[in-house]
């Protein structure tokens, strides 16, 4: 390679790697702002501010969903399988809201540790399946359960 071109290439590599490390440091410093939501573990550790609009997310705990019969108010727990967080919400849930599914809620953490949500979003996972497969999986699960 010609000396001039080699110099130019080295210069570009140097500039780009300097920029990359600067950007890396910025992103690292802003990590908490870039994270879309607080996990139940972070909230349990007291990292989330109280009475401030934040997002909290996790898996909806199985069997935790409780609806009030006369209104749209409901409550459920989200968990990361170590800590769990009670979420209260009034409104319509997205179609994909299910127990065992991930959700992200926007709202405020109250002093008593309950999260008061004004918006609940469903988080989809990266798995896709045709309905027949899940039916087969379910029926297999049920038959194995009934054999106990």
């Amino acid at each position: 390679m010609h000396a001039v071109r080699r110099k130019r290439l080295l210069f570009i590599v140097l500039i780009v790697s300097l920029l990359a490390s600067a950007l890396g440091l910025v992103l690292y410093a802003l990590q908490q702002n870039i994270n879309l939501f607080y996990s139940p573990a972070q909230i349990a550790a007291g990292e989330a501010p109280l009475e401030t609009t934040i997002r909290a997310g996790g898996m909806v705990e199985k069997g935790s969903l409780a609806r009030q019969p006369d209104s749209l108010t409901l409550a459920f727990n989200v968990t990361d399988f170590q800590h769990s967080l009670r979420i209260e919400y009034t409104g319509i849930l997205p179609d994909l809201f299910r127990e065992g599914q991930g959700v992200v809620a926007l709202g405020k953490l109250r002093g008593d540790g309950v999260f008061e949500a004004s918006e609940v979003l469903a988080k989809h996972d990266e798995k896709y399946m045709p309905p027949e497969v899940t039916d087969a999986l379910k029926s297999r699960q049920m038959s194995s359960e009934s054999s106990y």
Binding site: V16, L36, L96, V104, L121, Y128, T134
Partner: protein, 248 residues
Amino acid sequence: MSWAWLHRLGSPKWFYGRFKAWPKPLFCLACLCLMVAMVWGLAIAPPDYQQGNSFRIIYIHVPAAILAQSCYFAMGMAGVVYLVWQIKMSPIFLQAVAPFGALMAFIALVTGSIWGKPTWGTWWVWDARLTSVLVLLFLYMGVIAVQSALEERSLADKTAAVVSVVGLLNLPIIKYSVEWWNTLHQGATFSITEPPSMPMAMWLPLLFAVIGLYLLSAAVILWRMQTEIMRREARTQWLKQEVLSDGV
């Protein structure tokens, strides 16, 4: 190491003659692939067990997102080549690829938010993945703007190359955004090292769509490059002869 091949590829005359006949067959092949993919994906492939039919937008969203990133990578590499070797063809390529890449990024964002509304419950959240793809679209628009706003050709080419090279840093951020941070966007369904989290009846049409879109991008970019060569080399003797011999 000999760089002669690179210099030959860098000659507009050689490039024009070599690839003149390519776009049309590439375009036909791309249409065929995309047609197969769309019919298969949108009508024949099984619905998802949770999302039903709305998941089918994946057959447009994912290929567009892949192409948006691939085009940017190619553009950034062309930028490096221009800044180091100052080869005539690289700004022509850069100029040809930018609008196509921008369109792909735009399609990925639009289809994503159309899918997001019924699935997540919102059109848009400022999570790391969505934001970094929006930045990708802005980078494309920046390259296009710089190319067309600066009057002096070599200055415009150089600035666009610098923007596209610096913007390369955004690509790993897009790719790893779903792993480094908590995001609403899910992780990747496909990776090279693991089997896909999707049955074959679902990912095979997706594969066709991705291949079809790559072919389409090749055809469109070659076409645009030919036009750009003709614009830039309008005063040269070889192009006059080329056009006259075509009987235009």
